[in-house]
Amino acid sequence: MKRIFSITAWIAVAVLGAGALGSIALHRGEPLNATWFVVAAVCCYLVAYRLYSAFVAAKILALDDTRATPSERHDDGRDFVPTNKWVLFGHHFAAIAGPGPLVGPTLAAQFGYLPGTLWLIAGAAFAGCVQDFVILFCSIRRDGKSVGQMAREEVSERGGFIAQLAVLAIMTILLAVIGLVVVNALKSSPWATFTLAMTVPIALLLGLYLRFVRPGRVLEASVMGVSLVLFVVVAGQWVADSPSWARAFTLTGVALAFVIIAYGFAASALPVWLLLAPRDYLSAFIKAGAIFSLAAGILFVRPQVLMPPLTRFIDGTGPVFAGKIFPFCFITIACGAISGFHSLISSGTTPKMILRESHARFIGFGAMLLESFVGVMAMVAACAMPPGVYFAINSPPSIVGVSGRAAASTISSWGYPLQAQTMTDLAHKVGEITLWNRAGGAPSLAVGMAQIFSGTIGGERLLSIWYHFAIMFEALFILTVLDAGTRVGRFMIQDLGGRVWKPFGRTGWMPGILLSSAVIVALWGYFLYQGVVDPLGGINSLWPLFGISNQLLAAVALVVATTILMKMGRLRWIWVTLLPMAWLVTITMTASYQKIFDANPRIGFLAYAKVLAVQIAAGKIPAEQIAETHRLIFNQRLDAAVTGVLAAMILVLILEALVHWYAILSCRKESVLHESPYIATRWAANFSGVAHGDD
C-alpha cells in the first residue's frame, strides 16, 4: 500500500513538473507567472534526485556505508572532521555557491528566459550534479585527494599537469571577470561604493575581535558584523545625499579597478585572520540570508516574467555579449548548470568531513541542485523587469548609443519599448545617478531583486534600500571569492616558483609572499583593466573566456571520473560521465574556435583586432587615440592566444585520455585503481558527527 502511494506521489510530481516545463516552453503572448518556473524547477530536481542520483549511487558507484570514510580514519579535528550531513550540506553549498549562478543566468537572459532555464535544469541534473557527486565519491575513496592528484594517479602525469594549469587559468580569468562585475556595479555610485568600502574596516574590526578578544567566537562576531553592514547600507544614502561625501565616493571604472587590485594584494599578503576570514564570515551569513529571502520573495510576490521566451538575439547579435545560443548560452551559464570549479570543492574539504559514503549523494548531487535553483531564481529576477530596462542596463554605449535618448531609441527599435525617462526615474528610485551601461549582470540583478523584495516589504519607498542591499550582497561575496582566490593563486605561484628557487616556495617568507601576491594580482589585474577600458564592455570578451576555462576544468574532472568508472569495471554505465564530457568538449571547442576565428568582430578576437588595425591604417583613428587602439589590438590578440591555449589543453587532455582508455580496454595496460584499502567502520548506525553530540 505504502509502495503504491509512493509511486503515485512520484508520478504526480513528474506530471506536475512536465506540465510546468511545458507551460514555460510553449507559452506565448501574455507574460508568464514566475511560479511556473519554481514549480518546474523543483519538480524536475525532485525527480532527478529520487531517480537519477539513486541510480548513480546504487548501480554505478555502489556506495558502501560499512566502509570507514577519511573523516573516521584520520579524525584530527582539523581537516578530517566527521560532520553531520545537514551541516556538511550547508558547508558544501556555501563553498560552491558563488556569483556565477547569479551573474551567468542574468547575462544569458538576453536570449530570452527559455534557453537559460532549460540548460540550468537539464545541465544540473545530467552534468553538474553528476560531476560533483562522482568526484566527491572518488575523492572519498582516495583519502580526500584533489582532482589534480587524482588526474595524475588515475589518468597520467600530463593529465595532472593540465589540471594544475587549468586551475591557475580559471583562477586568473575568474578573478578578473568578477572584479569587472564589481567595477560595473560600483562605478558612479557613491552609495554602493561607500557601503562596500565600509565592509573593509568592519571586517578588520571583526578580525581583531576574533583574534584577540574572543578567539574563534564566530557567531557573535558575525551578528555584530552583519548588523554593522546593514547599518552602512542605510548610511550610504546619507553619503549619496551629501555633495562633498558623494564626490569622494564617486569613482570611475579605472579608479575602481585599481582600488580592487590594491585590495586583492592586501588581502593576499595580510594575515588571513585580519581581513580575509572575517569578511568570509560576513559574506556567508549575508549570502545565506539573501538567497533565502529571494526564494521567499519570489514565492510571495509571484512576479510576472516580462522577458519573452526567445528574443531576437538568438541570432548571435546580442548587445550584452555576441554569439548564438549554441555554444554561448552554455558557456555563459556555467555555474548553475555545470562548473568545473566545483570539482575542486568536491575533492577538497568536503570528502574529508563526510561521515558516510551514502551522504555523498545528498551533499554532492543535492547541493548542486540547490545551486541550480539559485540560477533559476536569478533568471526569474532578471526576466521580471521590462526587457527594455534589462537591455538598457546591460548594453554598452558603443552599441546602443551614448545619450539616453539615442539608447532608448535603439532599444525600442529592437522591439523592446523604452523611454529615456523610464531609466531616469528608475535610477532616481533606486538612488543611483544612472543605470545606463552597467553591464556585468550585478546591477540588473539588483534591480530585479529590489523589485521582488520591495514587493514583499516596504513597497517603492524602500526600493533604493533594497537595491543597495542587493548590490552590497553581490559585491561582498564577489570580493570574498576575489580575495580567497588571490590567496590560493598566491600559493600556486609560490608552489610553481619553489620548484625553480626553493626559498620562494616557503609560504611564511615575506619577500616570497609579497612577490607571489604581486604576480597573481598582476595576472588578473591586467585582464580586469583591459575589461574596464574595452569599448565593447569587457564582459563580451572576458565572460566567455571565463566560461571556457571553467568548462575546461569540468572536462578534466569528467575525464578523471570516466577513467575511474572504467577502471571500476562500470563500462556499461560509462555514458553517465562520458556524455556530459563530450558535450562540454563540443561546446568549449566550438566557443573557442568562434572566439578566435569568427569573422564578426564582436565575436572573433582576431577579426576585431584586424578591424582596428585597418582603421588605424586608413587614418580613421584620431592621433591621440592611436596608442590606446594599439593596446586594444594587443589585448584582442592576447585573448585569442589565451583561448587557443585553453583549447589546446582540452585537446591534449582528450587525446591523453583516449590513449589511456584504449590501453586499458585492449588490456595493453594493467588497470590499477588507486583507492585507499577497505577498512570497516566502527561507528554505530545512528552516529551523526562528533560536534553534533554523538561521540
Binding site: D75, D76, G77, R78, D79, V81, T83, N84, W86, G90, H91, A94, A95, I96, A97, G98, G100, S146, V167, M171, L174, L210, R211, F212, P215, G216, R217, V218, L219, P271, V272, W273, L276, A277, Y281, A284, F285, C335, S339, F341, L344, I345, G348, T349, T480, V481, A484, G485, R487, V488, F491, T507, F546, N550, G689, V690, A691, H692, G693, D695
Partner: protein, 66 residues
C-alpha cells in the same frame, strides 16, 4: 501539546548546534573532542592558536567557488 513543545525544543537545540558547527563557532570544541586530540599524541592548542592555524589551513586551498 507537551510533546509538540518538546519536539520544537529538540529541533531548536539541533538547529543551534548545527548553526554553530556550520559557521565554525564550534570548531574548537570539535577539535577538543577529536580522536587525535583525545589520544594526547600532540600538545593541545589554545583557542587562539587553533583559530589562527585553522584559518591558515582553510584559506590555502580553493574553498570558495565562482
Amino acid at each position: 501539546m507537551k510533546r509538540a513543545a518538546m519536539s520544537t525544543s529538540r529541533f531548536l537545540r539541533r538547529f543551534w548546534r548545527g548553526l554553530r558547527e556550520w559557521c565554525g563557532d564550534a570548531a574548537y570544541e570539535t577539535y577538543l573532542r577529536s580522536k587525535s586530540t583525545r589520544s594526547g599524541s600532540h600538545r593541545t592548542l589554545t583557542p587562539a592558536e587553533f583559530y589562527v592555524e585553522q584559518l591558515n589551513r582553510r584559506y590555502s586551498r580553493p574553498n570558495r567557488c565562482c
